[in-house]
């Protein structure tokens, strides 16, 4: 038991170390959220206010936090492909431990990294004028971020287990990550949507993550926190399990 925890901890630590060592990656991945906050947050602010919806930047910030988490998480999960190409994956796959534990260590590491990225974006959005209603609820909000991060890191692992190299990257970007982000209600309110979009948003697990963040940070949710957490937890469990199943079947 102790040795299992230690193995998982070392695999987790590896991801964290790699994250802090790639400063260019941290800074690079902050460009997009900054642009969204600046261009959309300020750009649509007056239209949003005129429509009687309040402060758009406050509304947008949880969406942009969600965006940085889903991007970081999916690509952390997909690092399996890099490890496979650079050979490190083999080193772990023949280690005397269940593959499920390898996958858990990696996934927890990737999810922690994505959560940190989300927290950095939240701090940055403060500079743009975002202010949480209740500072005490920031802590549970970070918990929700971690849940969302775990969900999408597992999804990234699943995808990576099916691909052989980074050639499918563009495909994943355009047909998985972008739709998940744009249909999630990160940029627009979920109230009064056309039926098709409302259905798509309901299918998208990120919708519930961002909705939960809005409940906790600006007290404005659509599905309700109970539903959000129930759906997120169920989907996260399912994806971790599926990720583990796919990961176990990997051959090098």
């Amino acid at each position: 038991m102790k040795s299992t925890m230690q193995k998982i901890y070392f695999l987790w630590l590896r991801q964290i170390k790699k994250y802090f060592r790639s400063r260019s990656r941290i800074i690079g991945s902050l460009g997009q959220p900054l642009l969204f906050l600046l261009a959309l947050g300020y750009g649509f602010g007056s239209v949003f206010a005129q429509a009687g919806q309040g402060n758009y930047l406050n509304f947008l910030a949880p969406g942009v936090i969600g965006m940085s988490i889903i991007f970081t998480a999916i690509f952390s999960g997909m690092e399996v492909i890099w490890d496979r190409q650079f050979g490190f994956l083999k080193e772990t796959l023949v280690a005397p431990m269940p593959r499920f534990h390898i996958m858990i260590g990696r996934t927890l590491g990737g999810a922690t990294v994505a959560t940190m990225q989300g927290v950095i974006v939240m701090l940055l959005s403060l500079a743009f004028g975002f202010h949480p209603l209740n500072w005490w609820l920031v802590l549970p909000a970070v918990g929700v971020m971690f849940l969302v991060a775990l969900l999408f890191t597992s999804l990234g692992t699943m995808v990576a287990s099916l691909l052989d190299d980074m050639q499918g990257f563009q495909l994943i970007m355009n047909f998985l990550v972008m739709p998940l982000f744009f249909l999630s209600g990160a940029l627009f309110p979920l109230q009064g949507l056309p039926a098709l979009l409302a259905i798509l948003a309901r299918i998208d697990p990120l919708s519930y993550g961002i909705d939960a963040l809005r409940v906790l940070l600006i007290n404005a949710g659509h599905y309700g926190l109970g539903t959000d957490l129930a759906v997120l937890s169920a989907v996260t469990l399912a994806f971790v399990w599926l990720g583990a199943v796919f990961f176990r079947r990997l051959q090098v």
């Binding site: 040795s3 230690q6 193995k7 070392f10 695999l11 590896r14 170390k17 790699k18 060592r21 790639s22 490890d83 650079f86 050979g87 490190f88 994956l89 083999k90 080193e91 772990t92 796959l93 023949v94 280690a95 005397p96 431990m97 269940p98 691909l163 052989d164 190299d165 051959q251 090098v252």
Partner: protein
């Protein structure tokens, strides 16, 4: 002598290509056994099947009595492996790579530190232990790879072309270390090579493999007697023929790689 590795009629197909074609052999506990063969003969594919990285198309394998297909986790406890191609994490330091390996392979902390230090001295990387591996030259990475592979002491050590790209000094030191391990702890050594002199000098028994089949098996002396040749090199050539097999000119392997690129053929 107890049987440590037993392989019966092992077959691996990638689509139409048969990489390993009905291989059978036994390796006893404490034996040093070599797979000798030209490029693309099926050596690495066999090792991958023995070490749970690939599942066989047909045939059976047992490692210390355990079937790696049915019980991969238990099988993995019995062996260690030094891979032919790189398997280090470039974003970690040399020391971190050693430590991570030690933890994953259940080496207790005190032993991990002691042996880690000893082995890094041994491959001349102790001074560079806190440098990121991506700053290392190809030769340094190879040396680190060897050192890391020897950090834990399993019952069987697989070495896939271990001396490829190693300088002669490290090569000699590595074999000294391994022979010592073999003598002291009775470790079974299974290595692949295409250096004849290495197989002759190190291995007690040699299997000559070509086109996925074992075409001869025995001690270097037996192989020479069997082919009525004076050196193992001549025996090898008399068994495998004189045609040159560049890895890139091997149609089977190329087809296999192309399939992998297209996403099939696991």
């Amino acid at each position: 002598m107890k049987t440590m590795i037993e392989v019966k009629n092992l077959v691996k197909r990638f689509g139409d290509i048969t990489a390993v074609d009905g291989v059978s052999f036994k390796v006893g506990g404490g034996e040093i056994f070599a797979f000798l063969g030209p490029n693309g003969a099926g050596k690495s594919t066999t090792i991958k099947m023995l070490t749970t990285l690939l599942s066989p198309t047909r045939g059976s394998v047992t490692l210390d009595g355990v079937d790696p297909v049915r019980d991969p986790e238990r099988a993995r406890r019995s062996f260690g492996i030094v891979f032919q191609d790189p398997s280090l994490d470039d974003d970690l330091t040399a020391w971190e790579n050693m430590q991570l390996h030690g933890v994953l392979y259940d080496v207790p902390a005190a032993e991990r530190n002691r042996r880690g230090q000893e082995l890094l001295w041994f491959v001349d990387l102790w001074e560079r232990r806190d440098d990121l591996v991506k700053r290392f030259s190809g030769g340094m990475k190879r040396r680190l790879e060897i050192a890391r592979g020897l950090l834990h002491h399993p019952k069987i050590i697989f070495l896939d072309e271990p001396t490829l790209g190693l300088d002669p000094q490290t090569r000699n030191r590595m074999w000294e270390y391994l022979r010592e391990l073999n003598r002291k702890e009775g470790t079974t050594l299974f290595f692949t090579t295409h250096y004849m002199e290495e197989a002759e000098r190190i291995a007690q028994r040699i299997a000559v493999i070509d086109h996925g089949k074992i075409i001869a098996l025995g001690s270097a002396a037996q192989l020479k007697r069997q082919t009525k040749t004076a050196s193992l090199e001549d025996a090898f050539l008399s068994l495998t023929g004189h045609s040159i097999r560049e890895e890139s000119a091997d149609p089977a392997l190329d087809a296999m790689r192309a399939m992998r690129r297209r996403g099939f053929g696991h």
